[in-house]
Structures are given as C-alpha cells and as structure tokens.
C-alpha cells in the first residue's frame, strides 16, 4: 500500500485520511472532493492513474488543508507520528508539508517501527526538511529538479532560496557535478530522479540513465509535472518494480503524456494526467519488459 502525505490548498480543511477515489475530474478522500491541481493532488492523481492501470490498490492519502501557515502540516506530522507504525505502508511518500526538522526526524523513527520499513520517498518541502535535518540517509528516493539538486549539493542551505550562487548557476550545464557533490556530502539518498531538460536516474551517486525524449520544453512551465513523476514512481514502487526501473518509466511516461497532450505553457496538469492510460497501453510493456498486465487483461 502507498501512503501519500501532503497538504491541499484549502483553508480550514481538517485532516482527512483514506483510500483515494476519482469522480469525474475530481479526487475524493473520506467524502471530501478536491480538484487535481499542482501539488499533492497532482501526485495522488498520477499515482491513482497508475495503480488503476496496473490493477493494484489505490493510494491511501493523509491530507490536510494548509495555505502556508503550517496548521495542516502540523496535523499531518501528528497523525503520522501516532499512526505510521500501525498503518505500515509499503511505500511512504512525504510531499508538500511545511518543513519541521524535529518532526521529520520523529516520522523517520516511527517508520523504523513499521512491521516492514516502507520505501521512503520525499519530494517538495519534505525533501527540504529531510536534508535540513541531516536525515537524507533515512530516505530511499528523492525527486529533485535541477535547482533543488543544487540545494542538496550545498552543505549549508536549508532551503533552495539560499543555494550558493555558483551552484544555482551551474544547474543547467553541470547536473552531473551537482549529483556527485550531493552524493559526496551524503545529501543524496540511494536513488535520485533529477527532473529537468534531461532527466537523470542516479543510484548511489552513479548516473544509470538519462532521458531526454520526447523533448517537450513546455512541461517545465506546467505546475504539477514534477509531482506527477513522483506519483507514477510511487505506484510503480508499490508494484515492486526495481526503484531505478520505476524511475525511468515515470520520467518517460510524463514526457510521453506531455507529447500526447501537445503541451503548451497554458496546459493544466490534469490534461497531462488524462493521457497516462494511453501512454501505459502503448509503452509500458516495452519499457518494463513485462507484458503480464496485457496477458491478464
């Protein structure tokens, strides 16, 4: 089971937990309906599109409303500290949650108490919190973009807004150097999926694969395209693909869906996600080397 923890941009929404359902264009958790927009909603929607195609269990979400003041984030931390060992997910994804170093360390301690330690994935501010708290090694997968990779490579920065200028300026041409620096400084978990013009799949500091095709430059402008990669990746990890294979397929799926959608800077993330089933139908068998799904169907 995948547990996805993150906030929604809805003021005063109390904590809601449960399996995710889709109704039309909206997502539903515990009877609460919300749109698929940038952030954790996009991640959940991508994960759900993937699990639906694979026929695996839908994601379980722990969500709360938060528009930046941290109330919902505090509720999520509290819920996970109280319930994570009892829930014992196979994959835990920490996402848009206001960074709190002390609480993030507590979550990692609770993850150790699960019947089987979950595959730990962090993206967005949860990745910032893990790095700032010095507990990157407790996570299995990070999914930074190039700017966030510069942040991981900067030993002093506690947020990407404070990256050393030379690391930020280097982001486009020197991603491999940043990867090496982040790994050397123990700011990189076992697997990195670096999202950008070229996507880098990195294990233990070594670049296993780069993905640049199809090249859809507009994807960078579309809010949520990083979130969807993490969502697909989480669903594939839950289906027990090898992490680096899951990362490769996630990156390729996102790009191909962008091409299918004829993406422009005005495209909304929901318009990308709606093409995932068609991309899976056409390419998943080839990319994964496993055609079992088609056989079952």
């Amino acid at each position: 089971m995948i547990l996805i923890a993150g906030t929604l941009p809805i003021k005063d929404l109390p904590i809601i937990t449960g399996k995710v359902e889709k109704n039309g264009a909206d997502l539903i958790v515990e009877g609460n309906r919300f749109p698929c927009t940038q952030g954790t909603a996009a991640l959940i929607s991508a994960a759900l599109a993937t699990t639906s195609y694979l026929g695996t269990s839908p994601p379980y979400a722990v969500l709360a409303g938060d528009t930046g003041r941290g109330e919902g984030s505090s509720e999520i931390y509290r819920y996970l500290m109280e319930n994570l060992p009892g829930t014992s997910p196979d994959v835990l994804v920490m996402h848009y949650i206001l960074p709190d170093m002390v609480k993030m360390r507590s979550i990692c301690e609770k993850a150790d108490l699960c019947s089987k330690k979950p595959v730990m994935v962090a993206d967005a501010a949860s990745m910032y919190a893990a790095k700032a708290a010095g507990i990157v090694h407790r996570f299995d997968v990070f999914t930074p973009d190039a700017a966030e990779l510069g942040f991981l490579a900067d030993p002093e920065a506690t947020h990407p807004a404070y990256i050393a200028h030379h690391l930020f300026e280097a982001e486009n041409g020197h991603v491999p150097n940043l990867i090496e620096t982040a790994y050397r400084q123990k700011s990189s978990p076992n697997l990195l999926l670096v999202k950008g013009q070229l996507d880098y799949i990195v294990r233990e500091g070594k670049i296993l694969e780069t993905i640049g095709e199809p090249n859809v430059p507009s994807l960078e402008a579309i809010g949520g395209t990083g979130d969807t990669i993490t969502g697909i990746l989480a669903a594939l990890l839950d289906a027990e693909l090898e992490p680096h294979e899951a990362a490769v397929i996630a990156a390729k799926t996102n790009r191909m869906a962008g091409q299918f959608a004829e993406a422009s800077p005005a495209t909304k993330i929901s318009q990308i996600i709606e093409h995932f089933p068609a991309v899976f139908a056409e390419y998943l068998c080839t990319w994964s080397g496993v055609c079992y799904i088609d056989y079952v169907k």
Binding site: Q38, G68, G70, P99, A125, P160, Y162, I163, E220
Partner: protein, 178 residues
C-alpha cells in the same frame, strides 16, 4: 558530560534568526509571533551573527516572509532575518527567462511563472515545494498580471518569496511589451 548538551526531545529547532537592536524588542516580538501561532524561541545569537543585542528569536527560516509581513503590519522593529548557519549564502537573486513564442516563463530560484505575451494572463506557476505554493497556483493562474495578487501579500514561505521575485520580473517584462 555530553548528556547536558543533548537537545530536549520534541524541542523546536529552527534554521533562522531574527536579530534586534535591543532586548525588549526581542521579547515583545517573541510574544507577538507566538500569539500569531508561530513556533519560535528566544536564544542568544552566535557570536558571528551578533549585530544588535544579546537576544534574538529563533524561527523556522522557511516562514520568514509571513513573519516579515507580521512585523510590518504591527510596526515591530527588527534588524534582520538571517539563516542560523553562518556560512549560508545570501538569498538567491538570479532570474532567468525562457521565451516559448506566445508565452514567457520567468524563473527565480526554484519558482517559475509563465504568462501569455499578448494578454498578460498568467498561464501557469511551477516549482517550489512549500504548502502555500499550490495555493498561490490556484490564486494566480488565469488572472492578468496587474490584477493578480502578489505572492508576497498572500504567501508565507521562502518559496512564495521566490515566486514574488518571478512575479515582479513578469510585471517588468509585461510593461516593456505594452
């Protein structure tokens, strides 16, 4: 006797400091911040960061934009907000621009805003990771730049601060086009 140096479990651990001119300012600011719901604590600033008085307020650095706005709204004086780690670089001020033909994307730090060249309508926001970023996304897109709310006025975090820098550059570019 290292045990006495261990941090109390569950204690607040921020990554930023607010520096003040004098002790009463720091004490008053701590009360105001706590009343507003911020997790903060009074601390002595490390020697390298000691510019004003011997008391400062430790904050979650990510929340500095909301804290600055609160100080401004309540006319609370302070010297500066600074990262707790002394060797941290200054705030990023690098802005880059991508021209997509009909649209322009402005990137500041980890935040990007794209707008339509002919109408000035915000088409998308992307990047960032703090909880106010999906909220800003919802509030900004499909609005014309001059009428859209500024991230600095409705956001709270460092991601929102970077978004505001991108927004400001979008406004400048748009003025140049018109």
């Amino acid at each position: 006797m290292a045990i006495f140096k261990q941090k109390k479990k569950g204690a607040f651990e921020g990554s930023g400091l607010v520096i003040f001119d004098d002790v009463p300012q720091a004490i008053h600011a701590e009360k105001v911040l706590k009343k507003a719901g911020y997790q903060v604590k009074l601390v002595a600033p490390p020697p390298a960061l000691r510019k004003g008085c011997d008391l400062s307020v430790e904050i979650n650095l990510v929340e500095q934009m909301g804290i600055k706005r609160l100080f401004s709204d309540q006319s609370l004086p302070y010297m500066e907000i600074t990262p707790l780690r002394e060797k941290t670089s200054g705030l990023l001020d690098i802005v880059s621009i991508t021209d997509f033909g009909d649209a322009i994307m402005v990137k500041a730090g980890n935040m990007k805003i794209s707008f339509d060249k002919s109408t000035g309508v915000i088409l998308n926001t992307s990047g960032g990771g703090c909880p106010d970023i999906p909220y800003l996304h919802a509030e900004l897109i499909d609005k014309r730049l001059p009428e859209a709310p500024r991230p600095k006025d409705i956001g709270f975090t460092l991601c929102a601060l970077m978004a505001d820098r991108a927004f400001e550059e979008c406004l400048n570019i748009r003025e140049g086009i018109e």
